[in-house]
């Protein structure tokens, strides 16, 4: 009897133990693991800077692109084995990536191109100020913007990669420049002023007199693109670059909805006014610059609101914000699409692994195709060589938007104040060579012939060739020469932006023990959920007349 009771108690104990074990194990299986960067991420802000930035290669475990060698270090058969996806048909993929109708040009530079590269670089040799390391925007006029400073950096990178200069000179120039940029007096302690005097590095107004104008989100966006290119290509410059950007206050440049804001000074009250900045083309390019540093300019990166205008059978996209209401011209020019294609490969900021002919920011590449096609169509149907962009002119009005479309008119050449100045329409040198680099076609061969020898060996490449027969646009600018060098470098190396090869960045880890990151809106390393979305828009399947 005792044994029976003992067995009964033992059996019951075993059953209870077994059930308890099952319950315990079952609960253990239901535990949801915490994934860094996920919704349940409770890693304190103090540590978030150490998270790696999520890129396609990291998430999908695919091979990262690699930085190509300098031109003089390339094997002679380097391009023989280069895969170009020539058999891949154009169109959108399921992931909204886009394959263009035409491929980019690739290969070594020939003599004519090398000469053009040397002349273009000579602009920066001539017009860089030894006191500050800043290069003049236009000839010997001693002022510059961040946009044009980015063009100077582009020129220096190209000159180094094309073996026009060596590392000693490259480092010397870039370090002096970055040191100066770090010491620039900011606009009201926020971000760099729109314009600086290149000899003194003092902030100035549009007449180059001491003063302040405001800051430009577009200019800063382009500068951020080139800071990321520099940092990814040359890790030894990383700390310097981070220290420059960690002086800036981005709290008013990107809002919570992801729009970019510039600033100007109210003439009546003297107060700072923040205003949305950027139109279709430039806005998305600048947005990607911010996204490369962890910001999330999600609305600025979207094409909407946009409309299309049918020109020579091509539905040309333009910004839908009415200039009469917003007092900002919605010009369509080649430049911003070229810069996206040359520098970023029409890829999303987190894409560090797609093939060269696959553009993960699909609609940007597709829109760029239209911008190219309408210009070729104009040439074929009217005979006018067309490669349009914004460009400086000698004498009043000093600057024109030589547009494909703006303010309701196709082929509208307008001044910043809105005058129609068709006499200033021109084949832009930078646009022509940019198109030539990104679209390998018969038409861009014609453009190439028109501009490749359009230079003054003492000053650089001319701004362009007047469409109405007035000759060359006899002015020399940093932007023109910088983009020309970028185009030539693209022929040799492809997309200029290369992947980041490090782990953590000071940009993300600095000031974690203070509230400065919050005050200045410094971002955390972007995770997959924060990637800019890959979008697509309806494709024009046949010519529209």
């Amino acid at each position: 009897m005792f044994l029976f009771v003992l067995c009964l108690i033992g059996g019951a104990t075993y059953v209870v133990w077994l059930s308890a074990r099952q319950v315990f194990l079952a609960q253990e299986e239901e535990i949801i693991p915490i994934i860094a960067g996920g919704a349940l991420d409770d890693i304190p802000a103090l540590m978030r800077g150490n998270l790696p930035s999520a890129t396609v290669s990291l998430i999908s475990d695919v091979e990262q692109r690699s930085k190509p060698p300098r031109m003089c270090e390339m094997d002679k058969d380097y391009f023989n084995s280069l895969e170009r996806g020539l058999n891949v048909s154009s169109g959108y993929s399921n992931e909204n990536a886009y394959v263009r109708k035409y491929r980019s040009r690739r290969g070594f530079l020939n003599e004519r191109e090398l000469r053009a590269a040397r002349v273009a670089w000579h602009y920066f040799e001539t017009y860089t100020q030894p006191t500050t390391g800043l290069a003049n925007s236009v000839g010997n006029y001693p002022s510059t913007t961040l946009w044009d400073t980015a063009s100077y950096i582009a020129g220096a990178v190209a000159a180094f990669e094309l073996c026009l200069i060596e590392k000693t000179e490259f480092d010397s120039r870039i370090l002096q420049l970055l040191t100066t940029v770090k010491t620039l007096e900011l606009f009201r302690k926020e971000l760099p002023n729109k314009v600086y005097h290149t000899k003194t590095a003092a902030k100035v107004d549009y007449t180059n007199k001491p003063g302040e104008i405001g800051f430009s989100a577009l200019d800063i966006g382009r500068f951020l693109v080139w800071m990321r290119i520099l940092k990814n290509r040359y890790p030894h410059l990383g700390n310097t670059i981070d220290s420059v950007l960690l002086k800036w206050d981005f709290s008013n440049a990107v809002d919570s909805e992801g729009l970019l804001f510039g600033a100007y000074v109210d003439k009546e009250t003297g107060e700072t006014v923040y205003a949305q900045e950027g139109r279709l083309g430039y806005e998305e390019y600048a947005a990607k610059g911010f996204a490369l540093w962890g910001f999330r300019p999600i609305l600025a990166h979207r094409a909407e609101p946009f409309l299309t205008a049918s020109i020579y059978g091509v539905q040309v996209p333009y910004d839908g914000r009415d200039p009469r209401v917003f007092h900002s011209q919605n010009y369509v020019v080649t430049e911003s699409y070229l810069q996206d294609g040359l520098e970023l490969g029409f890829d999303l900021p987190h894409d560090d692994s797609s093939e060269e002919w696959v553009h993960s920011d699909g609609w940007r590449a597709e829109f760029a195709d239209r911008v190219y096609q309408v210009q070729e169509n104009r040439w074929r149907q009217t005979g006018f060589m067309t490669a349009r962009s914004e460009h400086n002119v000698k004498g009043p009005p000093y600057f024109t938007y030589d547009t494909i479309f703006s303010d309701g008119y196709p082929w509208n050449t307008v001044t910043p104040r809105g005058d129609y100045v068709p006499n200033h329409s021109a084949v832009s040198s930078k646009a022509a060579l940019g198109l030539w680099a990104l679209w390998e076609t018969d038409y861009t061969d014609v453009l190439y012939e028109a501009v490749i020898e359009l230079y003054d060996p003492e000053h650089g490449m001319f701004e362009g060739l007047y469409e109405r027969g007035q000759g060359r646009v006899e002015i020399f600018t940093a932007n023109n020469n910088g983009i020309i060098l970028t185009s030539l470098l693209h022929k040799v190396q492809g997309t200029i932006l290369t992947p980041y090869t490090g782990d953590t960045e000071v940009w993300y880890t600095a000031y974690r023990d203070q509230d400065i990151r919050v005050m200045r809106n410094y971002p955390d390393p972007p995770q997959k959920s924060e990637w800019l979305p890959a979008l697509r828009h309806s494709v024009q399947e046949k010519a529209d007349f």
């Binding site: 925007s137 236009v138 006029y141 729109k194 007199k209 004498g395 009005p397 000093y398 910043p416």
Partner: protein, 483 residues
């Protein structure tokens, strides 16, 4: 041989010199057009409106330099925009894309040039417009067209334009140059008038006094308060009151400036004076004729005779006052005495004189001006001066809560030295209307009829209408009289 060699060298050097000199000649227009940007080229303040309704715009520049502001507007049927360096475009379309007159200024000077196609206009040192037409040769003929018909104009249009030719060109639509019956040049003149005015305005440092009569800006010389007139806040006042207030503030100081610079009195003032003198003549003639006619018909003889008598008396009073004012103006130190004397309700004695030998010179001059030039009686003239002073007092006390009302007990505290014809006329109209009903009792010698005539004139401000009125009364055509 040596001489030959030397001669050859000299000749060669001469040829080289001539050739280099020739090659060194640069088209001034072209060189101006290619001038690099320089902030020192700014000669204009874009906040000073070239015409009413113009606005100053801010440029959003992509580049590192340029003009941060410009001015745009519509005047005389053409749209315009100009930069601080004087570079301007005039066109009948708002895009400034068709039929464009372009103005370019020589850097850092006020010397500007307007051009359209082969036509160039610039100002001579004498301030007249000078026309240049490309490809014009001897024997060419010039025609102006208004779109329907055309007239031939003399070759003299290639010389500095006199006012008649300038007005003729300004009113034309096209200018054609013909050689052997063929048009070799045909240029639209749309914007000619505006460009000519712009060139003068620029040359005069944005002084309004050089603009033609009828130009839609306050007709005054430049003053500090005109700065900012083109800025949006001036025109975007939320209420009509605010706009009026702004307008008054902007306008009033300019009035003083005009009178501070008597040389700048424009033709409008003299024409106004002339018209008022005409009125006086007409009034006198009308009364005399009426009296005569009424005598002949035997109707209302007494009343008309009384009117004529009263007028005669008034004129006598005016003459006496004039003498008195002359005496006052010759007084060495007149300031102060008049200030102590009440200017309201002046006594009208038989001599019409006031014992105010210490009256300020300025006040005396103004009084003289009102009576002699504008033909006012002493009562009205003094009241006008009071109103003017009251207005100034209102302005000086504006915002300070000062009592600036004008009534019979108010004494002037300063010299009424700044008047403007337009305001004077308004005041005179009000005063006359008031006096017709009120002062007629105080001055029984003048009945309502004379005042009504004067009032009608001012209300119409048109001489032809007065002539017609006079004709209706007298039955005779009236010849304008001038003094």
């Amino acid at each position: 041989m040596t001489y030959f060699t030397q001669f050859t060298r000299i000749a060669a050097m001469a040829v080289i010199c001539v050739a280099s000199a020739a090659s060194g000649q640069v088209n001034p227009a072209a060189s101006r057009n290619e001038e690099p940007f320089s902030p020192e080229n700014a000669i204009l303040d874009t906040s000073v409106a070239f015409a009413i309704g113009a606005r100053e715009g801010q440029q959003s520049l992509r580049g590192s330099f340029g003009w941060p502001s410009f001015q745009e507007g519509l005047v005389d049927g053409v749209y315009f925009r100009f930069d601080p360096d004087g570079y301007a475009r005039f066109s009948p379309t708002p895009r400034l894309d068709l039929d464009v007159f372009e103005v370019i200024c020589r850097p850092r000077t006020y010397s500007c040039l307007g051009r359209k196609d082969g036509l160039e206009i610039h100002l001579t040192e004498a301030g007249t417009l000078h026309l240049k037409i490309a490809e014009v040769g001897a024997g060419d003929m010039f025609f102006l067209s208004d779109g329907v018909s055309e007239i031939q104009v003399p070759e003299r249009i290639l010389q500095p334009l006199d006012i008649q030719l300038e007005l003729l060109l300004a009113s034309a639509v096209d200018l054609s140059v013909r050689r052997g019956g063929d048009d070799i040049v045909k240029t639209s003149l749309k914007g000619f008038h505006a460009v000519g005015s712009y060139l003068r305005w620029v040359a005069a440092r944005q002084d309004y006094s050089v603009l033609p009569r009828g130009w839609p800006v306050p007709n005054s010389s430049r003053n500090e308060d005109t700065v900012g007139l083109a800025q949006p806040p001036r025109w975007e006042a939320p209420t009509l009151y605010d706009q009026t207030f702004e307008s008054e503030i902007a306008t009033q100081p300019q009035i003083g400036t005009l009178f501070d610079q008597p040389d700048l009195e424009d033709t409008a003032v003299s024409e106004l004076r002339s018209e008022i003198n005409d009125l006086k003549k007409i009034l006198q003639e009308n009364l005399v004729d009426t009296t005569t006619r009424v005598d002949a018909t035997g109707r209302n003889v007494n009343s008309q005779s009384a009117s004529a008598l009263e007028l005669t008396n008034l004129l006598t009073v005016v003459e006496a006052l004039k003498d008195q004012v002359d005496d006052l103006s010759k007084t060495e130190n007149p300031v102060g005495v008049l200030l102590q004397e009440p200017l309201v309700e002046p006594e009208l004695s038989s001599s019409g004189a006031r014992e105010n030998t210490g009256a300020p010179t300025r006040a005396a001059q103004n009084l003289q001006y009102l009576m002699e030039e504008l033909g006012l009686d002493i009562n009205t003239a003094v009241t006008v001066m009071q109103m003017s002073e009251g207005r100034q007092a209102r302005q000086s006390g504006m915002g300070l809560g000062l009592d600036t009302s004008i009534n019979g007990s108010t004494r002037p505290t300063g010299v009424a030295n700044e008047l403007f014809e337009g305001d004077i006329i308004d005041q005179i109209l009000q005063e006359l209307e008031a006096e017709i009903t009120v002062d007629s009792l105080e001055v029984p010698m003048v009945d309502m009829h004379e005042y009504q005539l004067l009032s009608d004139y001012f209300e119409s401000a048109a001489l032809p209408a007065l002539r017609a009125f006079s004709e209706a009364v007298t039955g005779n055509a009236v010849t304008p009289a001038t003094q």
